[in-house]
């Protein structure tokens, strides 16, 4: 008998018919002799509907009230799935995040988990019930309802799997797994059978939308095995585990892209210690989330610093940067929101420097100019013109023959 956490996203439970299909699947899993804990998101576009309603009612929308509002969506979904399970003679009980023991900090709309005390979930399992837990929610140390933020249901599921020492955490979604690249961009994108936490983390940090990056971080830290799979076809999806010997050779796993960032360049900065520190401290104080940072080679005592930020932060970041040009002895600041980033990700890359060369050569051969480069042990990212991003993804996916299987490099 295995203990399985099954998480279902909003589209997976988008209407009563989908809710019944999910209940059927949970019931099948129980009848095969497993213990199951379900984590569920709000149905379909409900969270969007609630947010829209809030804008219709108030211009000032305190986080505490937003959290009370939004978590109502998951509450409904848990109750409905609980009933649907009873209807299939599977004993079940719904739990809010608070009842499930999710204690969070007091950062409303984006709370962090402080502790998980799954006493009631354990009791329910011992009583032979399937606990159905509202995703992305908890109760703060002040006793208020909190929301873990968009995509927080994945994190809830992983945290429960960790707290209950579950055998596997299954994340059911509207795609059949993790792909070598975006199937909308590359027709022969291939579903990956197995991937390491590190690689998936790099992928989600570089444009792969699911599962939520935060949940992958949590799973990686605590070693919770994931299974990313479809709630529509129910076929086997992608297993996410620690690197094993099998993986070591699979040097390139995926190509991701991200079009949600803008590039800011501050030119002619005096090349002296403390300058960059001043800039990024000022940005941090304005809550601007800086991603890639590149400082170009210094020439004649001056340098250019470029960095990327989410597009919604670009105006604010541009203002902060412009306000510092004098102090930094810089000649100017430029905001460019016509960029995009392509990333090649693979666990074995660190020992194979030839990969970087292949990336740069492939882009050059396709007349795609590289504006910034950043790398990690398992990733190479290039900032290119946004207009060329799909072409960049396609030619890199083809260069590493990812449609045929994981790319091995000598």
């Amino acid at each position: 008998m295995a203990l399985i956490v099954q998480k279902f996203g909003g589209t997976s439970v988008g209407d009563p018919e989908r809710m019944r299909a999910v209940a059927d699947h949970v019931a099948r899993t129980v009848r095969r002799g497993n213990q199951v804990v379900v984590v569920i998101s709000a149905m379909g576009k409900e969270t969007d509907d609630l947010l829209r309603m809030a804008t219709e009612v108030a211009r000032v929308r305190p986080g505490r009230e937003m959290d009370m509002l939004i978590t109502a969506g998951e509450r409904k979904a848990t109750a409905l799935l609980g009933m649907a399970l009873h209807d299939r003679s599977v004993p079940a009980a719904s739990f809010t995040g608070s009842q499930a023991g999710f204690i969070t900090d007091t950062t409303h709309t984006n709370a962090k988990i402080v502790e998980v005390r799954p006493t009631r979930l354990r009791q329910a399992l011992e009583a032979g019930q399937v606990p159905v837990v509202g995703g992305a929610q908890g109760v703060s140390t002040d006793g208020d309802v909190t929301f873990l933020g968009r995509g927080g249901s994945d994190t809830t599921a992983v945290a429960i799997a960790h707290a209950l020492e579950a055998d596997i955490c299954e994340l059911y979604t509207d795609v059949t797994g993790v792909f070598t690249t975006d199937p909308r961009v590359v027709a022969d994108a291939r579903r990956i059978d197995r991937i390491s936490f590190d690689e998936l983390l790099e992928m989600t940090a570089n444009g792969c939308p699911k599962p939520a990056m935060r949940s992958v971080e949590y799973a990686r830290t605590h070693g919770v095995d994931l299974h990313v799979r479809s709630a529509f076809t129910w076929e086997q999806g992608t297993l996410v585990t620690k690197e094993d010997s099998d993986m070591e050779q699979a040097i390139i796993s995926a190509v991701t892209h991200d079009t949600e960032e803008a590039k800011i360049t501050i030119t002619g900065v005096e090349d002296r210690p403390g300058v960059a520190g001043k800039l990024f401290r000022a940005l941090a104080e304005q809550q601007v989330n800086v991603d890639v940072i590149v400082q170009n080679t210094s020439a004649a005592g001056h340098t250019d610093i470029s960095f990327t930020v989410p597009k919604e932060d670009a105006v604010r970041a541009g203002e902060v940067t412009s306000g510092l040009t004098d102090e930094m002895g810089a000649s100017g600041a430029v905001v460019d929101d016509g960029i995009a980033r392509v990333s090649v990700i693979g666990a074995g890359m660190k020992t194979h420097p030839g990969v970087a060369a292949t990336v740069f050569e492939t882009l050059a051969a396709n007349e795609i100019n590289i504006e910034m480069i950043s790398t990690s042990a398992i990733r190479i990212s290039c900032v290119v013109r946004e207009a060329q991003i799909e072409h960049a993804v396609q030619c890199l996916h083809a260069a590493f023959r990812l449609d045929e299987g994981p790319a091995y490099v000598d």
Copy 2:
């Protein structure tokens, strides 16, 4: 400075525009120097929508899950009104029934309040905030979410007013107050300025739909003054208080009617001790809610027993009764769902026997046959044919000249 509890029903907050209008009213009340606690129902038809969705998802619908589902509606409404108040620079904080301190028994879908511990509401008031509380909900002694049943928001409001020793509990609704009779039946029905708990309790027990009877009972027991008024016109409505010297003369206050019951008659029962007890014990065991009971005068050792039950219980009650006819030595049982009940209600009635005579004479003069009679100290009810009920209401309302003001009798 007064402490005022303001309760708003579903139609009062049916859409974002209504929600803003309610926020404006609460803000005005605060700016006049009052402390306010708001109790709010789910928006518009949301509770109906949730119930419908449950039937689409499951045939078996456990009460625990239904309560989790339904209370999501009030949760949304509290958060939205909380935001709308912030938007008007009125500090506010939303609270679930559990956070507001409503401890209930474990009877799901119709829980009873065990205790109210309004610690967090007191703290919010002391901090200068308007607490916005989800109506009709609490947490059971087992730690599960509970629903107090339809109309439970009125009870929540009265219970909070009692626990916080509020000066008044204002129940805002879609009518302008309590009327001498149903304005849809009698065009010149008049709004009552002031009425006693006892009278309003008899009215709600005899067909007057608002406020919920249970909340009137609670208010009567604990002496919580009510003000039933409109959330659309905001005009002064009906004050509900203890009887005072003013009221003693206002002998007839209202005429109500109820078409939701059926009459069951068991004929030719042996007139010996214990027979009626056996019947009504059997009905109670089947959860049949018996209302008026009349046993006709015994003739030759046999008697007829008639009683009314809610129409939805009529079939079950008929079966129970038929099953007992042999044992009771009865000749048969008849279910009649073509009846209705008209009631004349007035606090001073007990000392004025002429009122009953006027009721019977008026109905006779209008050729309306009386099938059953039941009375209390402040009420006379007559069961008549359902087809004649509106005519009965109209002629009694006219007979006591309720359109002109409270009827005084010599």
